[in-house]
Amino acid sequence: MRVLEPWLREPLADLVRESAARVVLVMTASGQVIAQHGFTRSLDVMAAAALGAGILATTAELADLIAPGDDFGAVVHQGGAQGVWLAGFDTPRGRWVTLVVFGRESSVGLVRMFFDRFASGVRRLAPAPTATPELLAEGFERELDDSLRALFGTG
């Protein structure tokens, strides 16, 4: 299990244990990975995060087209041996997305129940974002320009 911020470890561990999830990925709505469990290769994580965020964004657009105002909170794909649960939820840090892969030892209902608990835990534990973002360092543009010249060979 890997988490970007330590406070996430406990609610994520609860979700994995209680729902018998095989794989869990927590990301921002734009696909930036925040925590993961069960992945073995970093490339898998990146691809899953991009696809998961994309699927949920597309579903939200579709929902807006066919049922404006209605909330399509989760997407479930049920395969023969494994299922995928994909759902978004609001946190003090903005909207996050969770992808859960589960096997026959679990079920959609079980995942839904413990996902709701996980989302509540995150909302309760997440530190509020800092009111003013930390300033980027002075000289950023100058260093950026140097880096671009070196990388692109531009004069």
Binding site: L4, L136, F140, R142, F152
Partner: protein, 200 residues
């Protein structure tokens, strides 16, 4: 939309190449791919031996560590086919900067204008306002015979009313391709830095 992670000190921005069909956005992105070393293209699908998707090409570029921040841009070239309108709309909603890839041929002026109108329409937010994004204009096919093309000044007069930086591009030869990307990255990052309260 740019992703700024204060804790991990990473900054990631999305650049979208748009323009009329066959104006050369895919060739332009291919030229960038050819000239940026593989180790600076983390996750590039073409790096793993896959053929670039001609309908939605994606090129991630690691710009290195700038004043302690890991900076990366994701460049997308999306097909101008009508069937890709939704994809283009979604990408434009996420975009931090636009590279307008416009065909220099005199006979394609109307196509350029139609493409620009479509982009404006797709940049409308839910309140009906056009998102104001940093942009550069790339006038492609400047290597064609003079009698077939318009010169950059004439193209600017018609296609670039807001006076964005413009470049006469010969995509295959690679002329002005990386220069235009350099300019766009600078504009995008300048805006992001300003939005984060820096005076740099």
């Amino acid at each position: 939309m740019a992703r700024i992670d204060q804790d991990a000190r990473t900054l990631r921005a999305t650049l979208v190449l748009v323009g009329p069909r066959d104006a050369g956005s895919s060739s332009l992105l291919r030229t960038v791919r050819d000239r940026v070393p593989a180790d600076r293209r983390p996750g590039d699908p073409a790096r793993a031996g896959a053929t670039a998707d001609p309908l939605l090409d994606w090129l991630p570029i690691d710009l290195g560590t700038i004043t302690g921040w890991r900076v990366r841009v994701d460049c997308y070239a999306v097909s101008s086919r009508t069937s890709y309108d939704t994809t283009r709309r979604l990408l434009l909603q996420e975009a931090d900067g636009l590279m307008l890839v416009l065909d220099s041929q005199a006979g394609r002026l109307e196509d350029n204008l139609a493409a620009l109108r479509a982009v404006q329409e797709q940049l409308l937010d839910r309140d009906g306002r056009v998102r104001d994004l940093p942009q550069v204009c790339c006038y492609t096919k400047q290597d064609l015979p003079e009698e077939l093309i318009l010169q950059p000044a004439a193209l600017d007069a018609t296609l670039n009313p807001r006076g964005a930086p413009s470049f006469a591009v010969r995509a295959v030869a690679g002329e002005n391709v990386l220069e235009s990307l350099h300019a766009l990255v600078t504009l995008v990052m300048r805006r992001l830095v300003a939005a984060n309260g820096n005076s740099a």
